[in-house]
Every structure is written in structure tokens, then in C-alpha cells.
Amino acid sequence: MAYFTQQLINAITLGAIYGLIAIGYTMVYGIIGMINFAHGEVFMIGAFISLIGFMICNLLGIGSAPVAIVLVLLIAMAFSSVYGWAVERTAYRPLRGSFRLAPLISAIGVSIALQNYVQLVQGARPKPGGQVVSGGFTLFSADGFDVRVSWLQIIIVVVTLVLMAGFTWLIARTSLGRQQRACEQDMRMAALLGVDVDRTISLTFVLGAALAAVAGMLFLLYYGVIDFFIGFLAGIKAFTAAVLGGIGSLPGAMLGGLLIGLIEVFWAGYFSSEYKDVAVFAILVLVLIFRPTGLLGKPEIEKV
């Protein structure tokens, strides 16, 4: 029981990070029907910006961890948003209206380009992030096993929950979110009502990138080490989460992220940690075969 609880805590933490990244995939798919394979790289860049941000905080002598985290969070979100915006503007918008595979190929190209760019300017070796938050407490002990919760895990889950709640509110209640949903359902009609569709699409990329940047910062804090290649695996796992939850569905992305975190951690905890990625991607295959619309996905056909 104690071991199980410990795994559960670890899984929720990891699932929160995947969920944040998955939102970016699902939103972009929802509005322009493409998989933004460069999204994982935006997450990776968010982690690097966070790394630099914490170093700057250190130099400036900002000792308080909460202040540093909030500062770095804002910086990472701002810079990564610019990346997200620029990627859409340069690599996808010119291809809109072209054949379906074109933006997908372009996305893969952007992904490789961004990886190499970071490798060039930051070097290929893994970079340690230093410890910003340490310590924790013992939840309970049983069978000679201490169930530990670190402060960092609590921060990760709280930050994720706050952002997801805020984001859900933004989409469901504000006029910006309404315009976003309108474009998702019928872009042409939205334009006929005066919505600037291009701006709305840009905004979707910016929001997705900002959330990915948060995930990048949390990843850096949690694992303590990053390199230019982390976006690939984390990106594909978050994509799997989005598909599992139902691509295009916002709650689906959050749920999918959580489930992928659970599957990965429990597989590693009870079976074999070498094969945890295989377990995750086996889920992707199974979902695509048996339930392509995902858990909370909408079927393609609607009553007209």
C-alpha cells in the first residue's frame, strides 16, 4: 500500500507535466487540424529559458525560491510564446490551404531545426539545473517504507491545477475563448461574424507555447537535468496523452496526461523501467485501433 501510494504521487506529478504539454497539441489540432510536432521543442526551449532564468536570478541574488519561480515562470512563458508565434507565422501559415501533409512535414522540419539550434547555442551535453526547491515531508510509513511527498511535487501539481483551471475558464467564459471555439467549429462562419481568424490561430499557438514553457520549467525542477533532446520524447508522450484523451478535447488532454503519467510510473514501478516507454506507446497504438476518437473525443459526425 505504501509503495502504491508513493508511485501514485510520482505518477500524478509526471502526469501534470504531460497534461500541460498535451493542451498545446490538442488546441492546435482543434483549430487547424494539424499535429504541431514542433511543440515538444517549444517545451524544451521553455526548459532552457528557465535554466537561464534561474541562473540570472542567482546572479541577481534573488534567494527566495517562490519569487524566483514566479519570475522564471513569467520569463519562460513570454519567450516561449514568441517561439510558438514565430513557428506558426513562418512555417505553418504560408502553407495553410495547401495539401494536408505539407504543414506536418514543415512541423517536423521546424522540430529538427529547433533541436539543432539549441544544440548549437547551448551545447550537446546535459545541463544540470541546480536545486531551487528541496525537502519535503513523510506522508506516512508502512511496511518499513516511508511515503515521501516533496515540496517540489506539491508545487508542480498546484501550479498545473491553477493554470489548467485558469485556462479552462479562459476558453469557456471569455470572449477570447469563445472566438477560439468558434474558429474551431467553423472558421469561415467565425470570419463572417468579424473574428480575425489569423489572429485567433496565432493566439492558440501562443497559449499552447506558454503552457509548454511552464511544463519545461517544472520538468527542469523535477529532473534537475535537461538537454536539447528532451522535447522529442516528452513531446511524443504528451501527444499520446492528447490522443488518449481525445485529440481536440481540452479536458481530454488533461485526463490523458494524467493517465499517461500513471501508466508510465506504474509500469516502471511494478514491471520494468526499461520498457516504460514501450508501455506508453503501446497505449497509443491500442487507442488508435480501438477508440480513435479517444476517451473524451468528439465523433466526427454531428447533427446538422
Binding site: S175, R178, R181, A182, Q185, M189, L192, L193, G194
Partner: protein, 241 residues
């Protein structure tokens, strides 16, 4: 006619290599109800969408109050006071009736919202009853009412309607046409109405045009066209006449 609100001259529109409009000339005067009738595939919907800039006219000019709008993006054209009730209604199926109306007010002044909402609900009480229901669950007639209400929320000066009677029961069709007449008379909105239901449309309209194969073939007052032998033979016989 001095200074029409909408002046279309020599408009040609293509879908890829296929030409849908072959030089259309047509005017809609301020405060008029003008109708455009024609068979399926004549290019009626294409003309309405071309006015809104999607697809764009490849040749010719579209002037709104003298300003050429044919090169503007859709949302800029709409900002100048044009609203469209498009073919197939295009209700946001996963949004509530209320949210659909909110979308209609995207460009409106928020201060007018409550008043405009009440006006739309007064015109179509069914919408008030269904306020929180999803657009996709409405009946065809209710969806049409919602599409018209949504267009009115932007306080348009020019309202473009694409086959508002399509697929509706005769009783509902009468209600919709009554509402269109009221919008023109009571709200002073200029109306350009595309219809296959030529009888109702010509009776309501001040003037009409007949479109065939992407060209204007006939034009005249609503009553003249109703009496015209060619129009009767092509668009009215066997129908409601």
C-alpha cells in the same frame, strides 16, 4: 438610382480553375429589399460569399458606400456593417443559443448587447425559450431563426441572406419571410436575399435579379419578375404559383 449601398460590377469568381461568376453587375440601394433568384449552381451563394471576401473576386469591383471592399479580408468587410446568414445556417453546434448570439455581437458595442438580445428574443421568442440549449440540437426552423438573430446582433446596415427558406416547413417559411420584412421596415436594414423559393422572395422584394450560369440574366421590380413568362416557366411553375 443615386449612390447605391452595394454596387457590384463585372465580378468574376473562380474555384481553382473553374469559373463560377462571369462578370456579375448588380446594385442594392439603401433601404431596399433586393432578391437574387436562380437555379441550383447558378452562382448565387458564390456571389454572397464573394461579397464577404471568401472566395475573393478575381476581377471586377464590389463597392460598399463607394468604397471598394473586394480586396479586404472577411472580418474587415463585416466590420463595415455587412452581416450574412449563410447557406446551411452554419450555427455553432457545440455552443448554446446564447453563445451563438454572443458570437454575433463580436464586433458590437458591449453596451448595446442586452438591448439587442432582447430585440432578437422579441422577434423570435423560441430562441429565448431555448437560450441555454446547444445550437446543434435545434430544429431547422429554430436554427434559421438563430442564424438571423445572430446576424442582427452586429447591427448590420446590409444583411445578406442565403436561402433562408431551404428545407423548412411552409408555415415556418412564412414566419421567416415575415421576420425579414420586419427587419427591413422596422430596423431600416438593407436586405439582399438569395432564394430558390422565387415566389416568396419576389413578393417580398422591391427589386429582383435572375442569375443563370454565373451571369445576371434578367432584372426588374419584384412584381414585374413575378409576371415575367420566362421567370414563371423556369422558377415558378409547379412551385407555389
Amino acid at each position: 438610382m443615386p449612390d447605391p449601398m452595394l454596387a457590384i460590377a463585372g465580378v468574376e469568381t473562380f474555384y481553382g480553375a473553374i469559373q463560377a461568376l462571369h462578370g456579375v453587375d448588380l446594385d442594392v440601394g439603401r433601404g431596399e429589399i433586393v432578391t437574387l433568384i436562380g437555379a441550383n449552381g447558378a452562382g448565387k451563394s458564390t456571389l454572397l460569399m464573394t461579397i464577404c471576401g471568401n472566395p475573393r473576386a478575381r476581377a471586377g469591383s464590389i463597392r460598399l458606400d463607394g468604397e471598394d471592399i473586394s480586396g479586404l479580408p472577411t472580418h474587415e468587410i463585416v466590420r463595415r456593417g455587412v452581416a450574412q446568414v449563410p447557406e446551411g445556417r452554419r450555427i455553432f453546434a457545440r455552443m448554446s443559443v446564447f453563445e451563438n448570439l454572443q458570437m454575433g455581437a463580436t464586433l458590437g458595442n458591449p453596451a448595446n448587447f442586452q438591448g439587442d438580445l432582447e430585440r432578437v428574443f422579441a422577434m423570435f421568442p423560441r430562441l429565448a425559450e431555448r437560450r441555454d440549449q446547444r445550437g446543434g440540437t435545434l430544429s431547422g426552423g429554430e436554427q434559421q431563426m438563430l442564424a438571423i438573430g445572430r446576424a442582427l446582433m452586429s447591427r448590420p446596415r446590409l444583411l445578406l441572406l442565403d436561402e433562408p427558406s431551404l428545407g423548412l416547413a411552409p408555415l415556418i417559411v412564412r414566419q421567416i419571410f415575415e421576420a425579414i420584412g420586419r427587419i427591413a421596415r422596422e430596423e431600416g436594414v438593407t436586405i439582399f436575399l438569395v432564394e430558390q423559393n422565387a415566389f416568396h422572395a419576389l413578393r417580398l422584394a422591391d427589386r429582383g435579379y435572375v442569375l443563370a450560369n454565373g451571369r445576371v440574366r434578367l432584372s426588374g421590380s419584384g412584381s414585374d419578375l413575378l409576371a415575367n413568362a420566362e421567370v414563371r416557366a423556369a422558377y415558378l411553375e409547379g412551385g407555389h404559383a
